[in-house]
Assembly symmetry: C2
């Protein structure tokens, strides 16, 4: 078979602190490379055709200048960026990986790529079965990294009790919308915020008891009326975090989710000003790194939660773009807050 | 018996945010009231002669303008302030409270006062036995509120494991010096900071592996060399907190102690700027309110820890003043950072 073009999204330029990526400048779409499926050396690995890529805010910290304590290593300039994706195996020299099976995990942003091994903990990739009731983009969203973040974080850290009150900021996002529904299943009163009226409408559809647009309604006023809070699930950081701390009950839990607040890492994350309340109210604030937490809850995630999503017990919205050439725009869209639901890019049909 | 003067320390004026109390202005010592031990109505309570009072930074928040979420209610203007103290019972109408027994708990800052009941959770007072090996001021310090704060906070929240590294700010204070020794007993490497060379010397005497004066040595440099940290015990807040967060390992615990950072409540507590690291490193930050936590650990505190203090297994320093008239100065001294060890006021000999 003749070589074919292997489109790649290359990391081109560091994103300055406080700024968002610029498509075509931060990353460039490159078509200069070709690949021959039959002859490309696999060196014991396997060749994957990328089907779908998740546009996660978590990609942004690795686009910033290198800094101590980054959640993931910085992307090397001139190389393809890497994120969570799904692909189909075209050729394999790897034990247990068959042609036609599906790989889920850390994939390069290129149309075709070689995964060297399933055993590198720094590039976790696993072989998964397609759930006939879920699309590939759903497997990147409500049952992918966003769902894992919501499920594992909630199970590990919420200590939720029936009748308690939770506030979820960015509640209509990929993570937040699942947290809202997990909280409702646990019998909590759910307050949720979002930045557009379309998202507020979606929040009501998925069962939030109180949903408001934080751009037109004062968060502190809503929390004063509908709180106080037993749990705050933070997807945004900044002044919303301070408002939530002020509205806590005794023994409240503040969960820093791996979403926007982490995206703002290295620059624009606004400080927590009311740390003094941690004593007065015996507060706990926890962050979690999904890279380490996911293994602990995967059995329950796959055995209990994923079937519930497949059976329609959870609602979710998707915001799908097509073509790897549009991945830069898609990521910016995910970071902009305009999206309703999880942003994914379909790179190819199977 | 003829009435005697009942000296009182009255709360006179709110302390502005960011300022420290001014003796003679914030509180005034008043001798206008007399009391007749034989005829003063007890209404079912008991009459206490105050022996010693603890000068806790925790008193300051109640001297500030009323604010939501204060650890303790604000002091009413014109009334005696209230803190932790020890007294001897002179007369009693209260079941189980005998003349000559000793009361420990929330006492008014006056030479003689009436405790209405042992059953008011908002004014916790209990009858204690004198430990022959411990002075009353020791029972207000290493085996009093400061010791309780260190012991209960450490047992509840440190999750300490042998070989881990802890940083204790304000390590020479009443709470910090006990935390340093509890951590050494648990087999940890202890880094501790203080603000004078005399305190640094004391830190070395009580076993800190690394002790430094944060005014003359850069905290970040010490932590870069001696860290990273599994645990940070925070007694100060502010930039030290940010430096400690930056120096954490994965899964580190940040314990906000009820000391100086709480004293700075309502004004000068500097913000936590590096909340983004909470995700990357799965950090936990906890505050605790002793008012609620102490009951959980009192059996171990009295049964195990207090005998160890009495047997000399813990070292402690005391900074003692005499006379209720000097309580205002003594509290300012405790807040100034000049003290080595716990500041107490001996109001009367038994």
């Amino acid at each position: 078979m003749a070589p074919v073009t292997n489109g790649r999204e290359l990391f081109n330029e560091i994103v300055p602190a406080g700024e968002l990526p610029t498509p075509g400048k931060t990353t460039v779409y490159d078509t200069s490379e070709t690949i021959d499926f039959d002859t490309v050396p696999l060196n014991g690995g396997f060749l994957v055709k990328t089907l779908a890529l998740s546009m996660d805010p978590l990609l942004l910290p690795s686009m910033r200048a290198p800094q101590k304590g980054q959640p993931m290593p910085p992307f090397p300039i001139g190389k393809p960026i890497m994120g969570v994706g799904i692909g189909v195996v075209l050729r394999s020299e790897h034990e247990g990986v068959e042609v036609g099976s599906h790989a889920y995990g850390a994939l390069s942003h290129q149309e075709y790529s070689i995964v060297p091994t399933l055993k590198n903990p720094m590039q976790p990739v696993e072989i998964i079965k397609k759930n006939p009731k879920l699309s590939w983009t759903a497997q990147l969203g409500p049952t992918g990294l966003a769902g894992e973040t919501a499920f594992c974080g909630w199970k590990e850290h919420s200590k939720a009790k029936k009748g308690e009150t939770v506030f979820v900021s960015s509640g209509a996002g990929g993570v937040g919308s699942i947290v809202v529904q997990l909280a409702k299943k646990d019998g909590l009163k759910v307050i949720a915020s979002a930045g557009t009226d379309a998202k507020v409408k979606f929040l009501k559809e998925i069962g939030a008891d109180v949903a408001f647009n934080y751009k037109t309604t004062d968060t502190r006023e809503v929390l004063a009326k509908e709180g106080p809070l037993d749990i705050y699930w933070d997807n945004v950081g900044g002044e919303t975090f301070n408002a939530a701390i002020e509205a806590t009950k005794m023994n409240a839990r503040l969960i820093v989710s791996a979403a926007k607040s982490q995206a703002n890492f290295n620059g624009t994350n606004q400080p927590i000003k009311v740390a003094g309340l941690f004593n007065a109210r015996s507060l706990t604030m926890v962050g979690f790194n999904m890279f380490f937490l996911r293994y602990k809850h995967m059995a329950a995630f796959r055995g209990e939660y994923v079937p519930q999503v497949a059976n329609g017990e959870f609602k979710y919205a998707e915001d799908i773009r097509h073509g790897l050439a549009n991945a830069g725009e898609a990521l910016l869209h995910a970071l902009s807050g305009e999206n309703v639901g999880k942003v994914s890019v379909i790179v190819a049909e199977e």
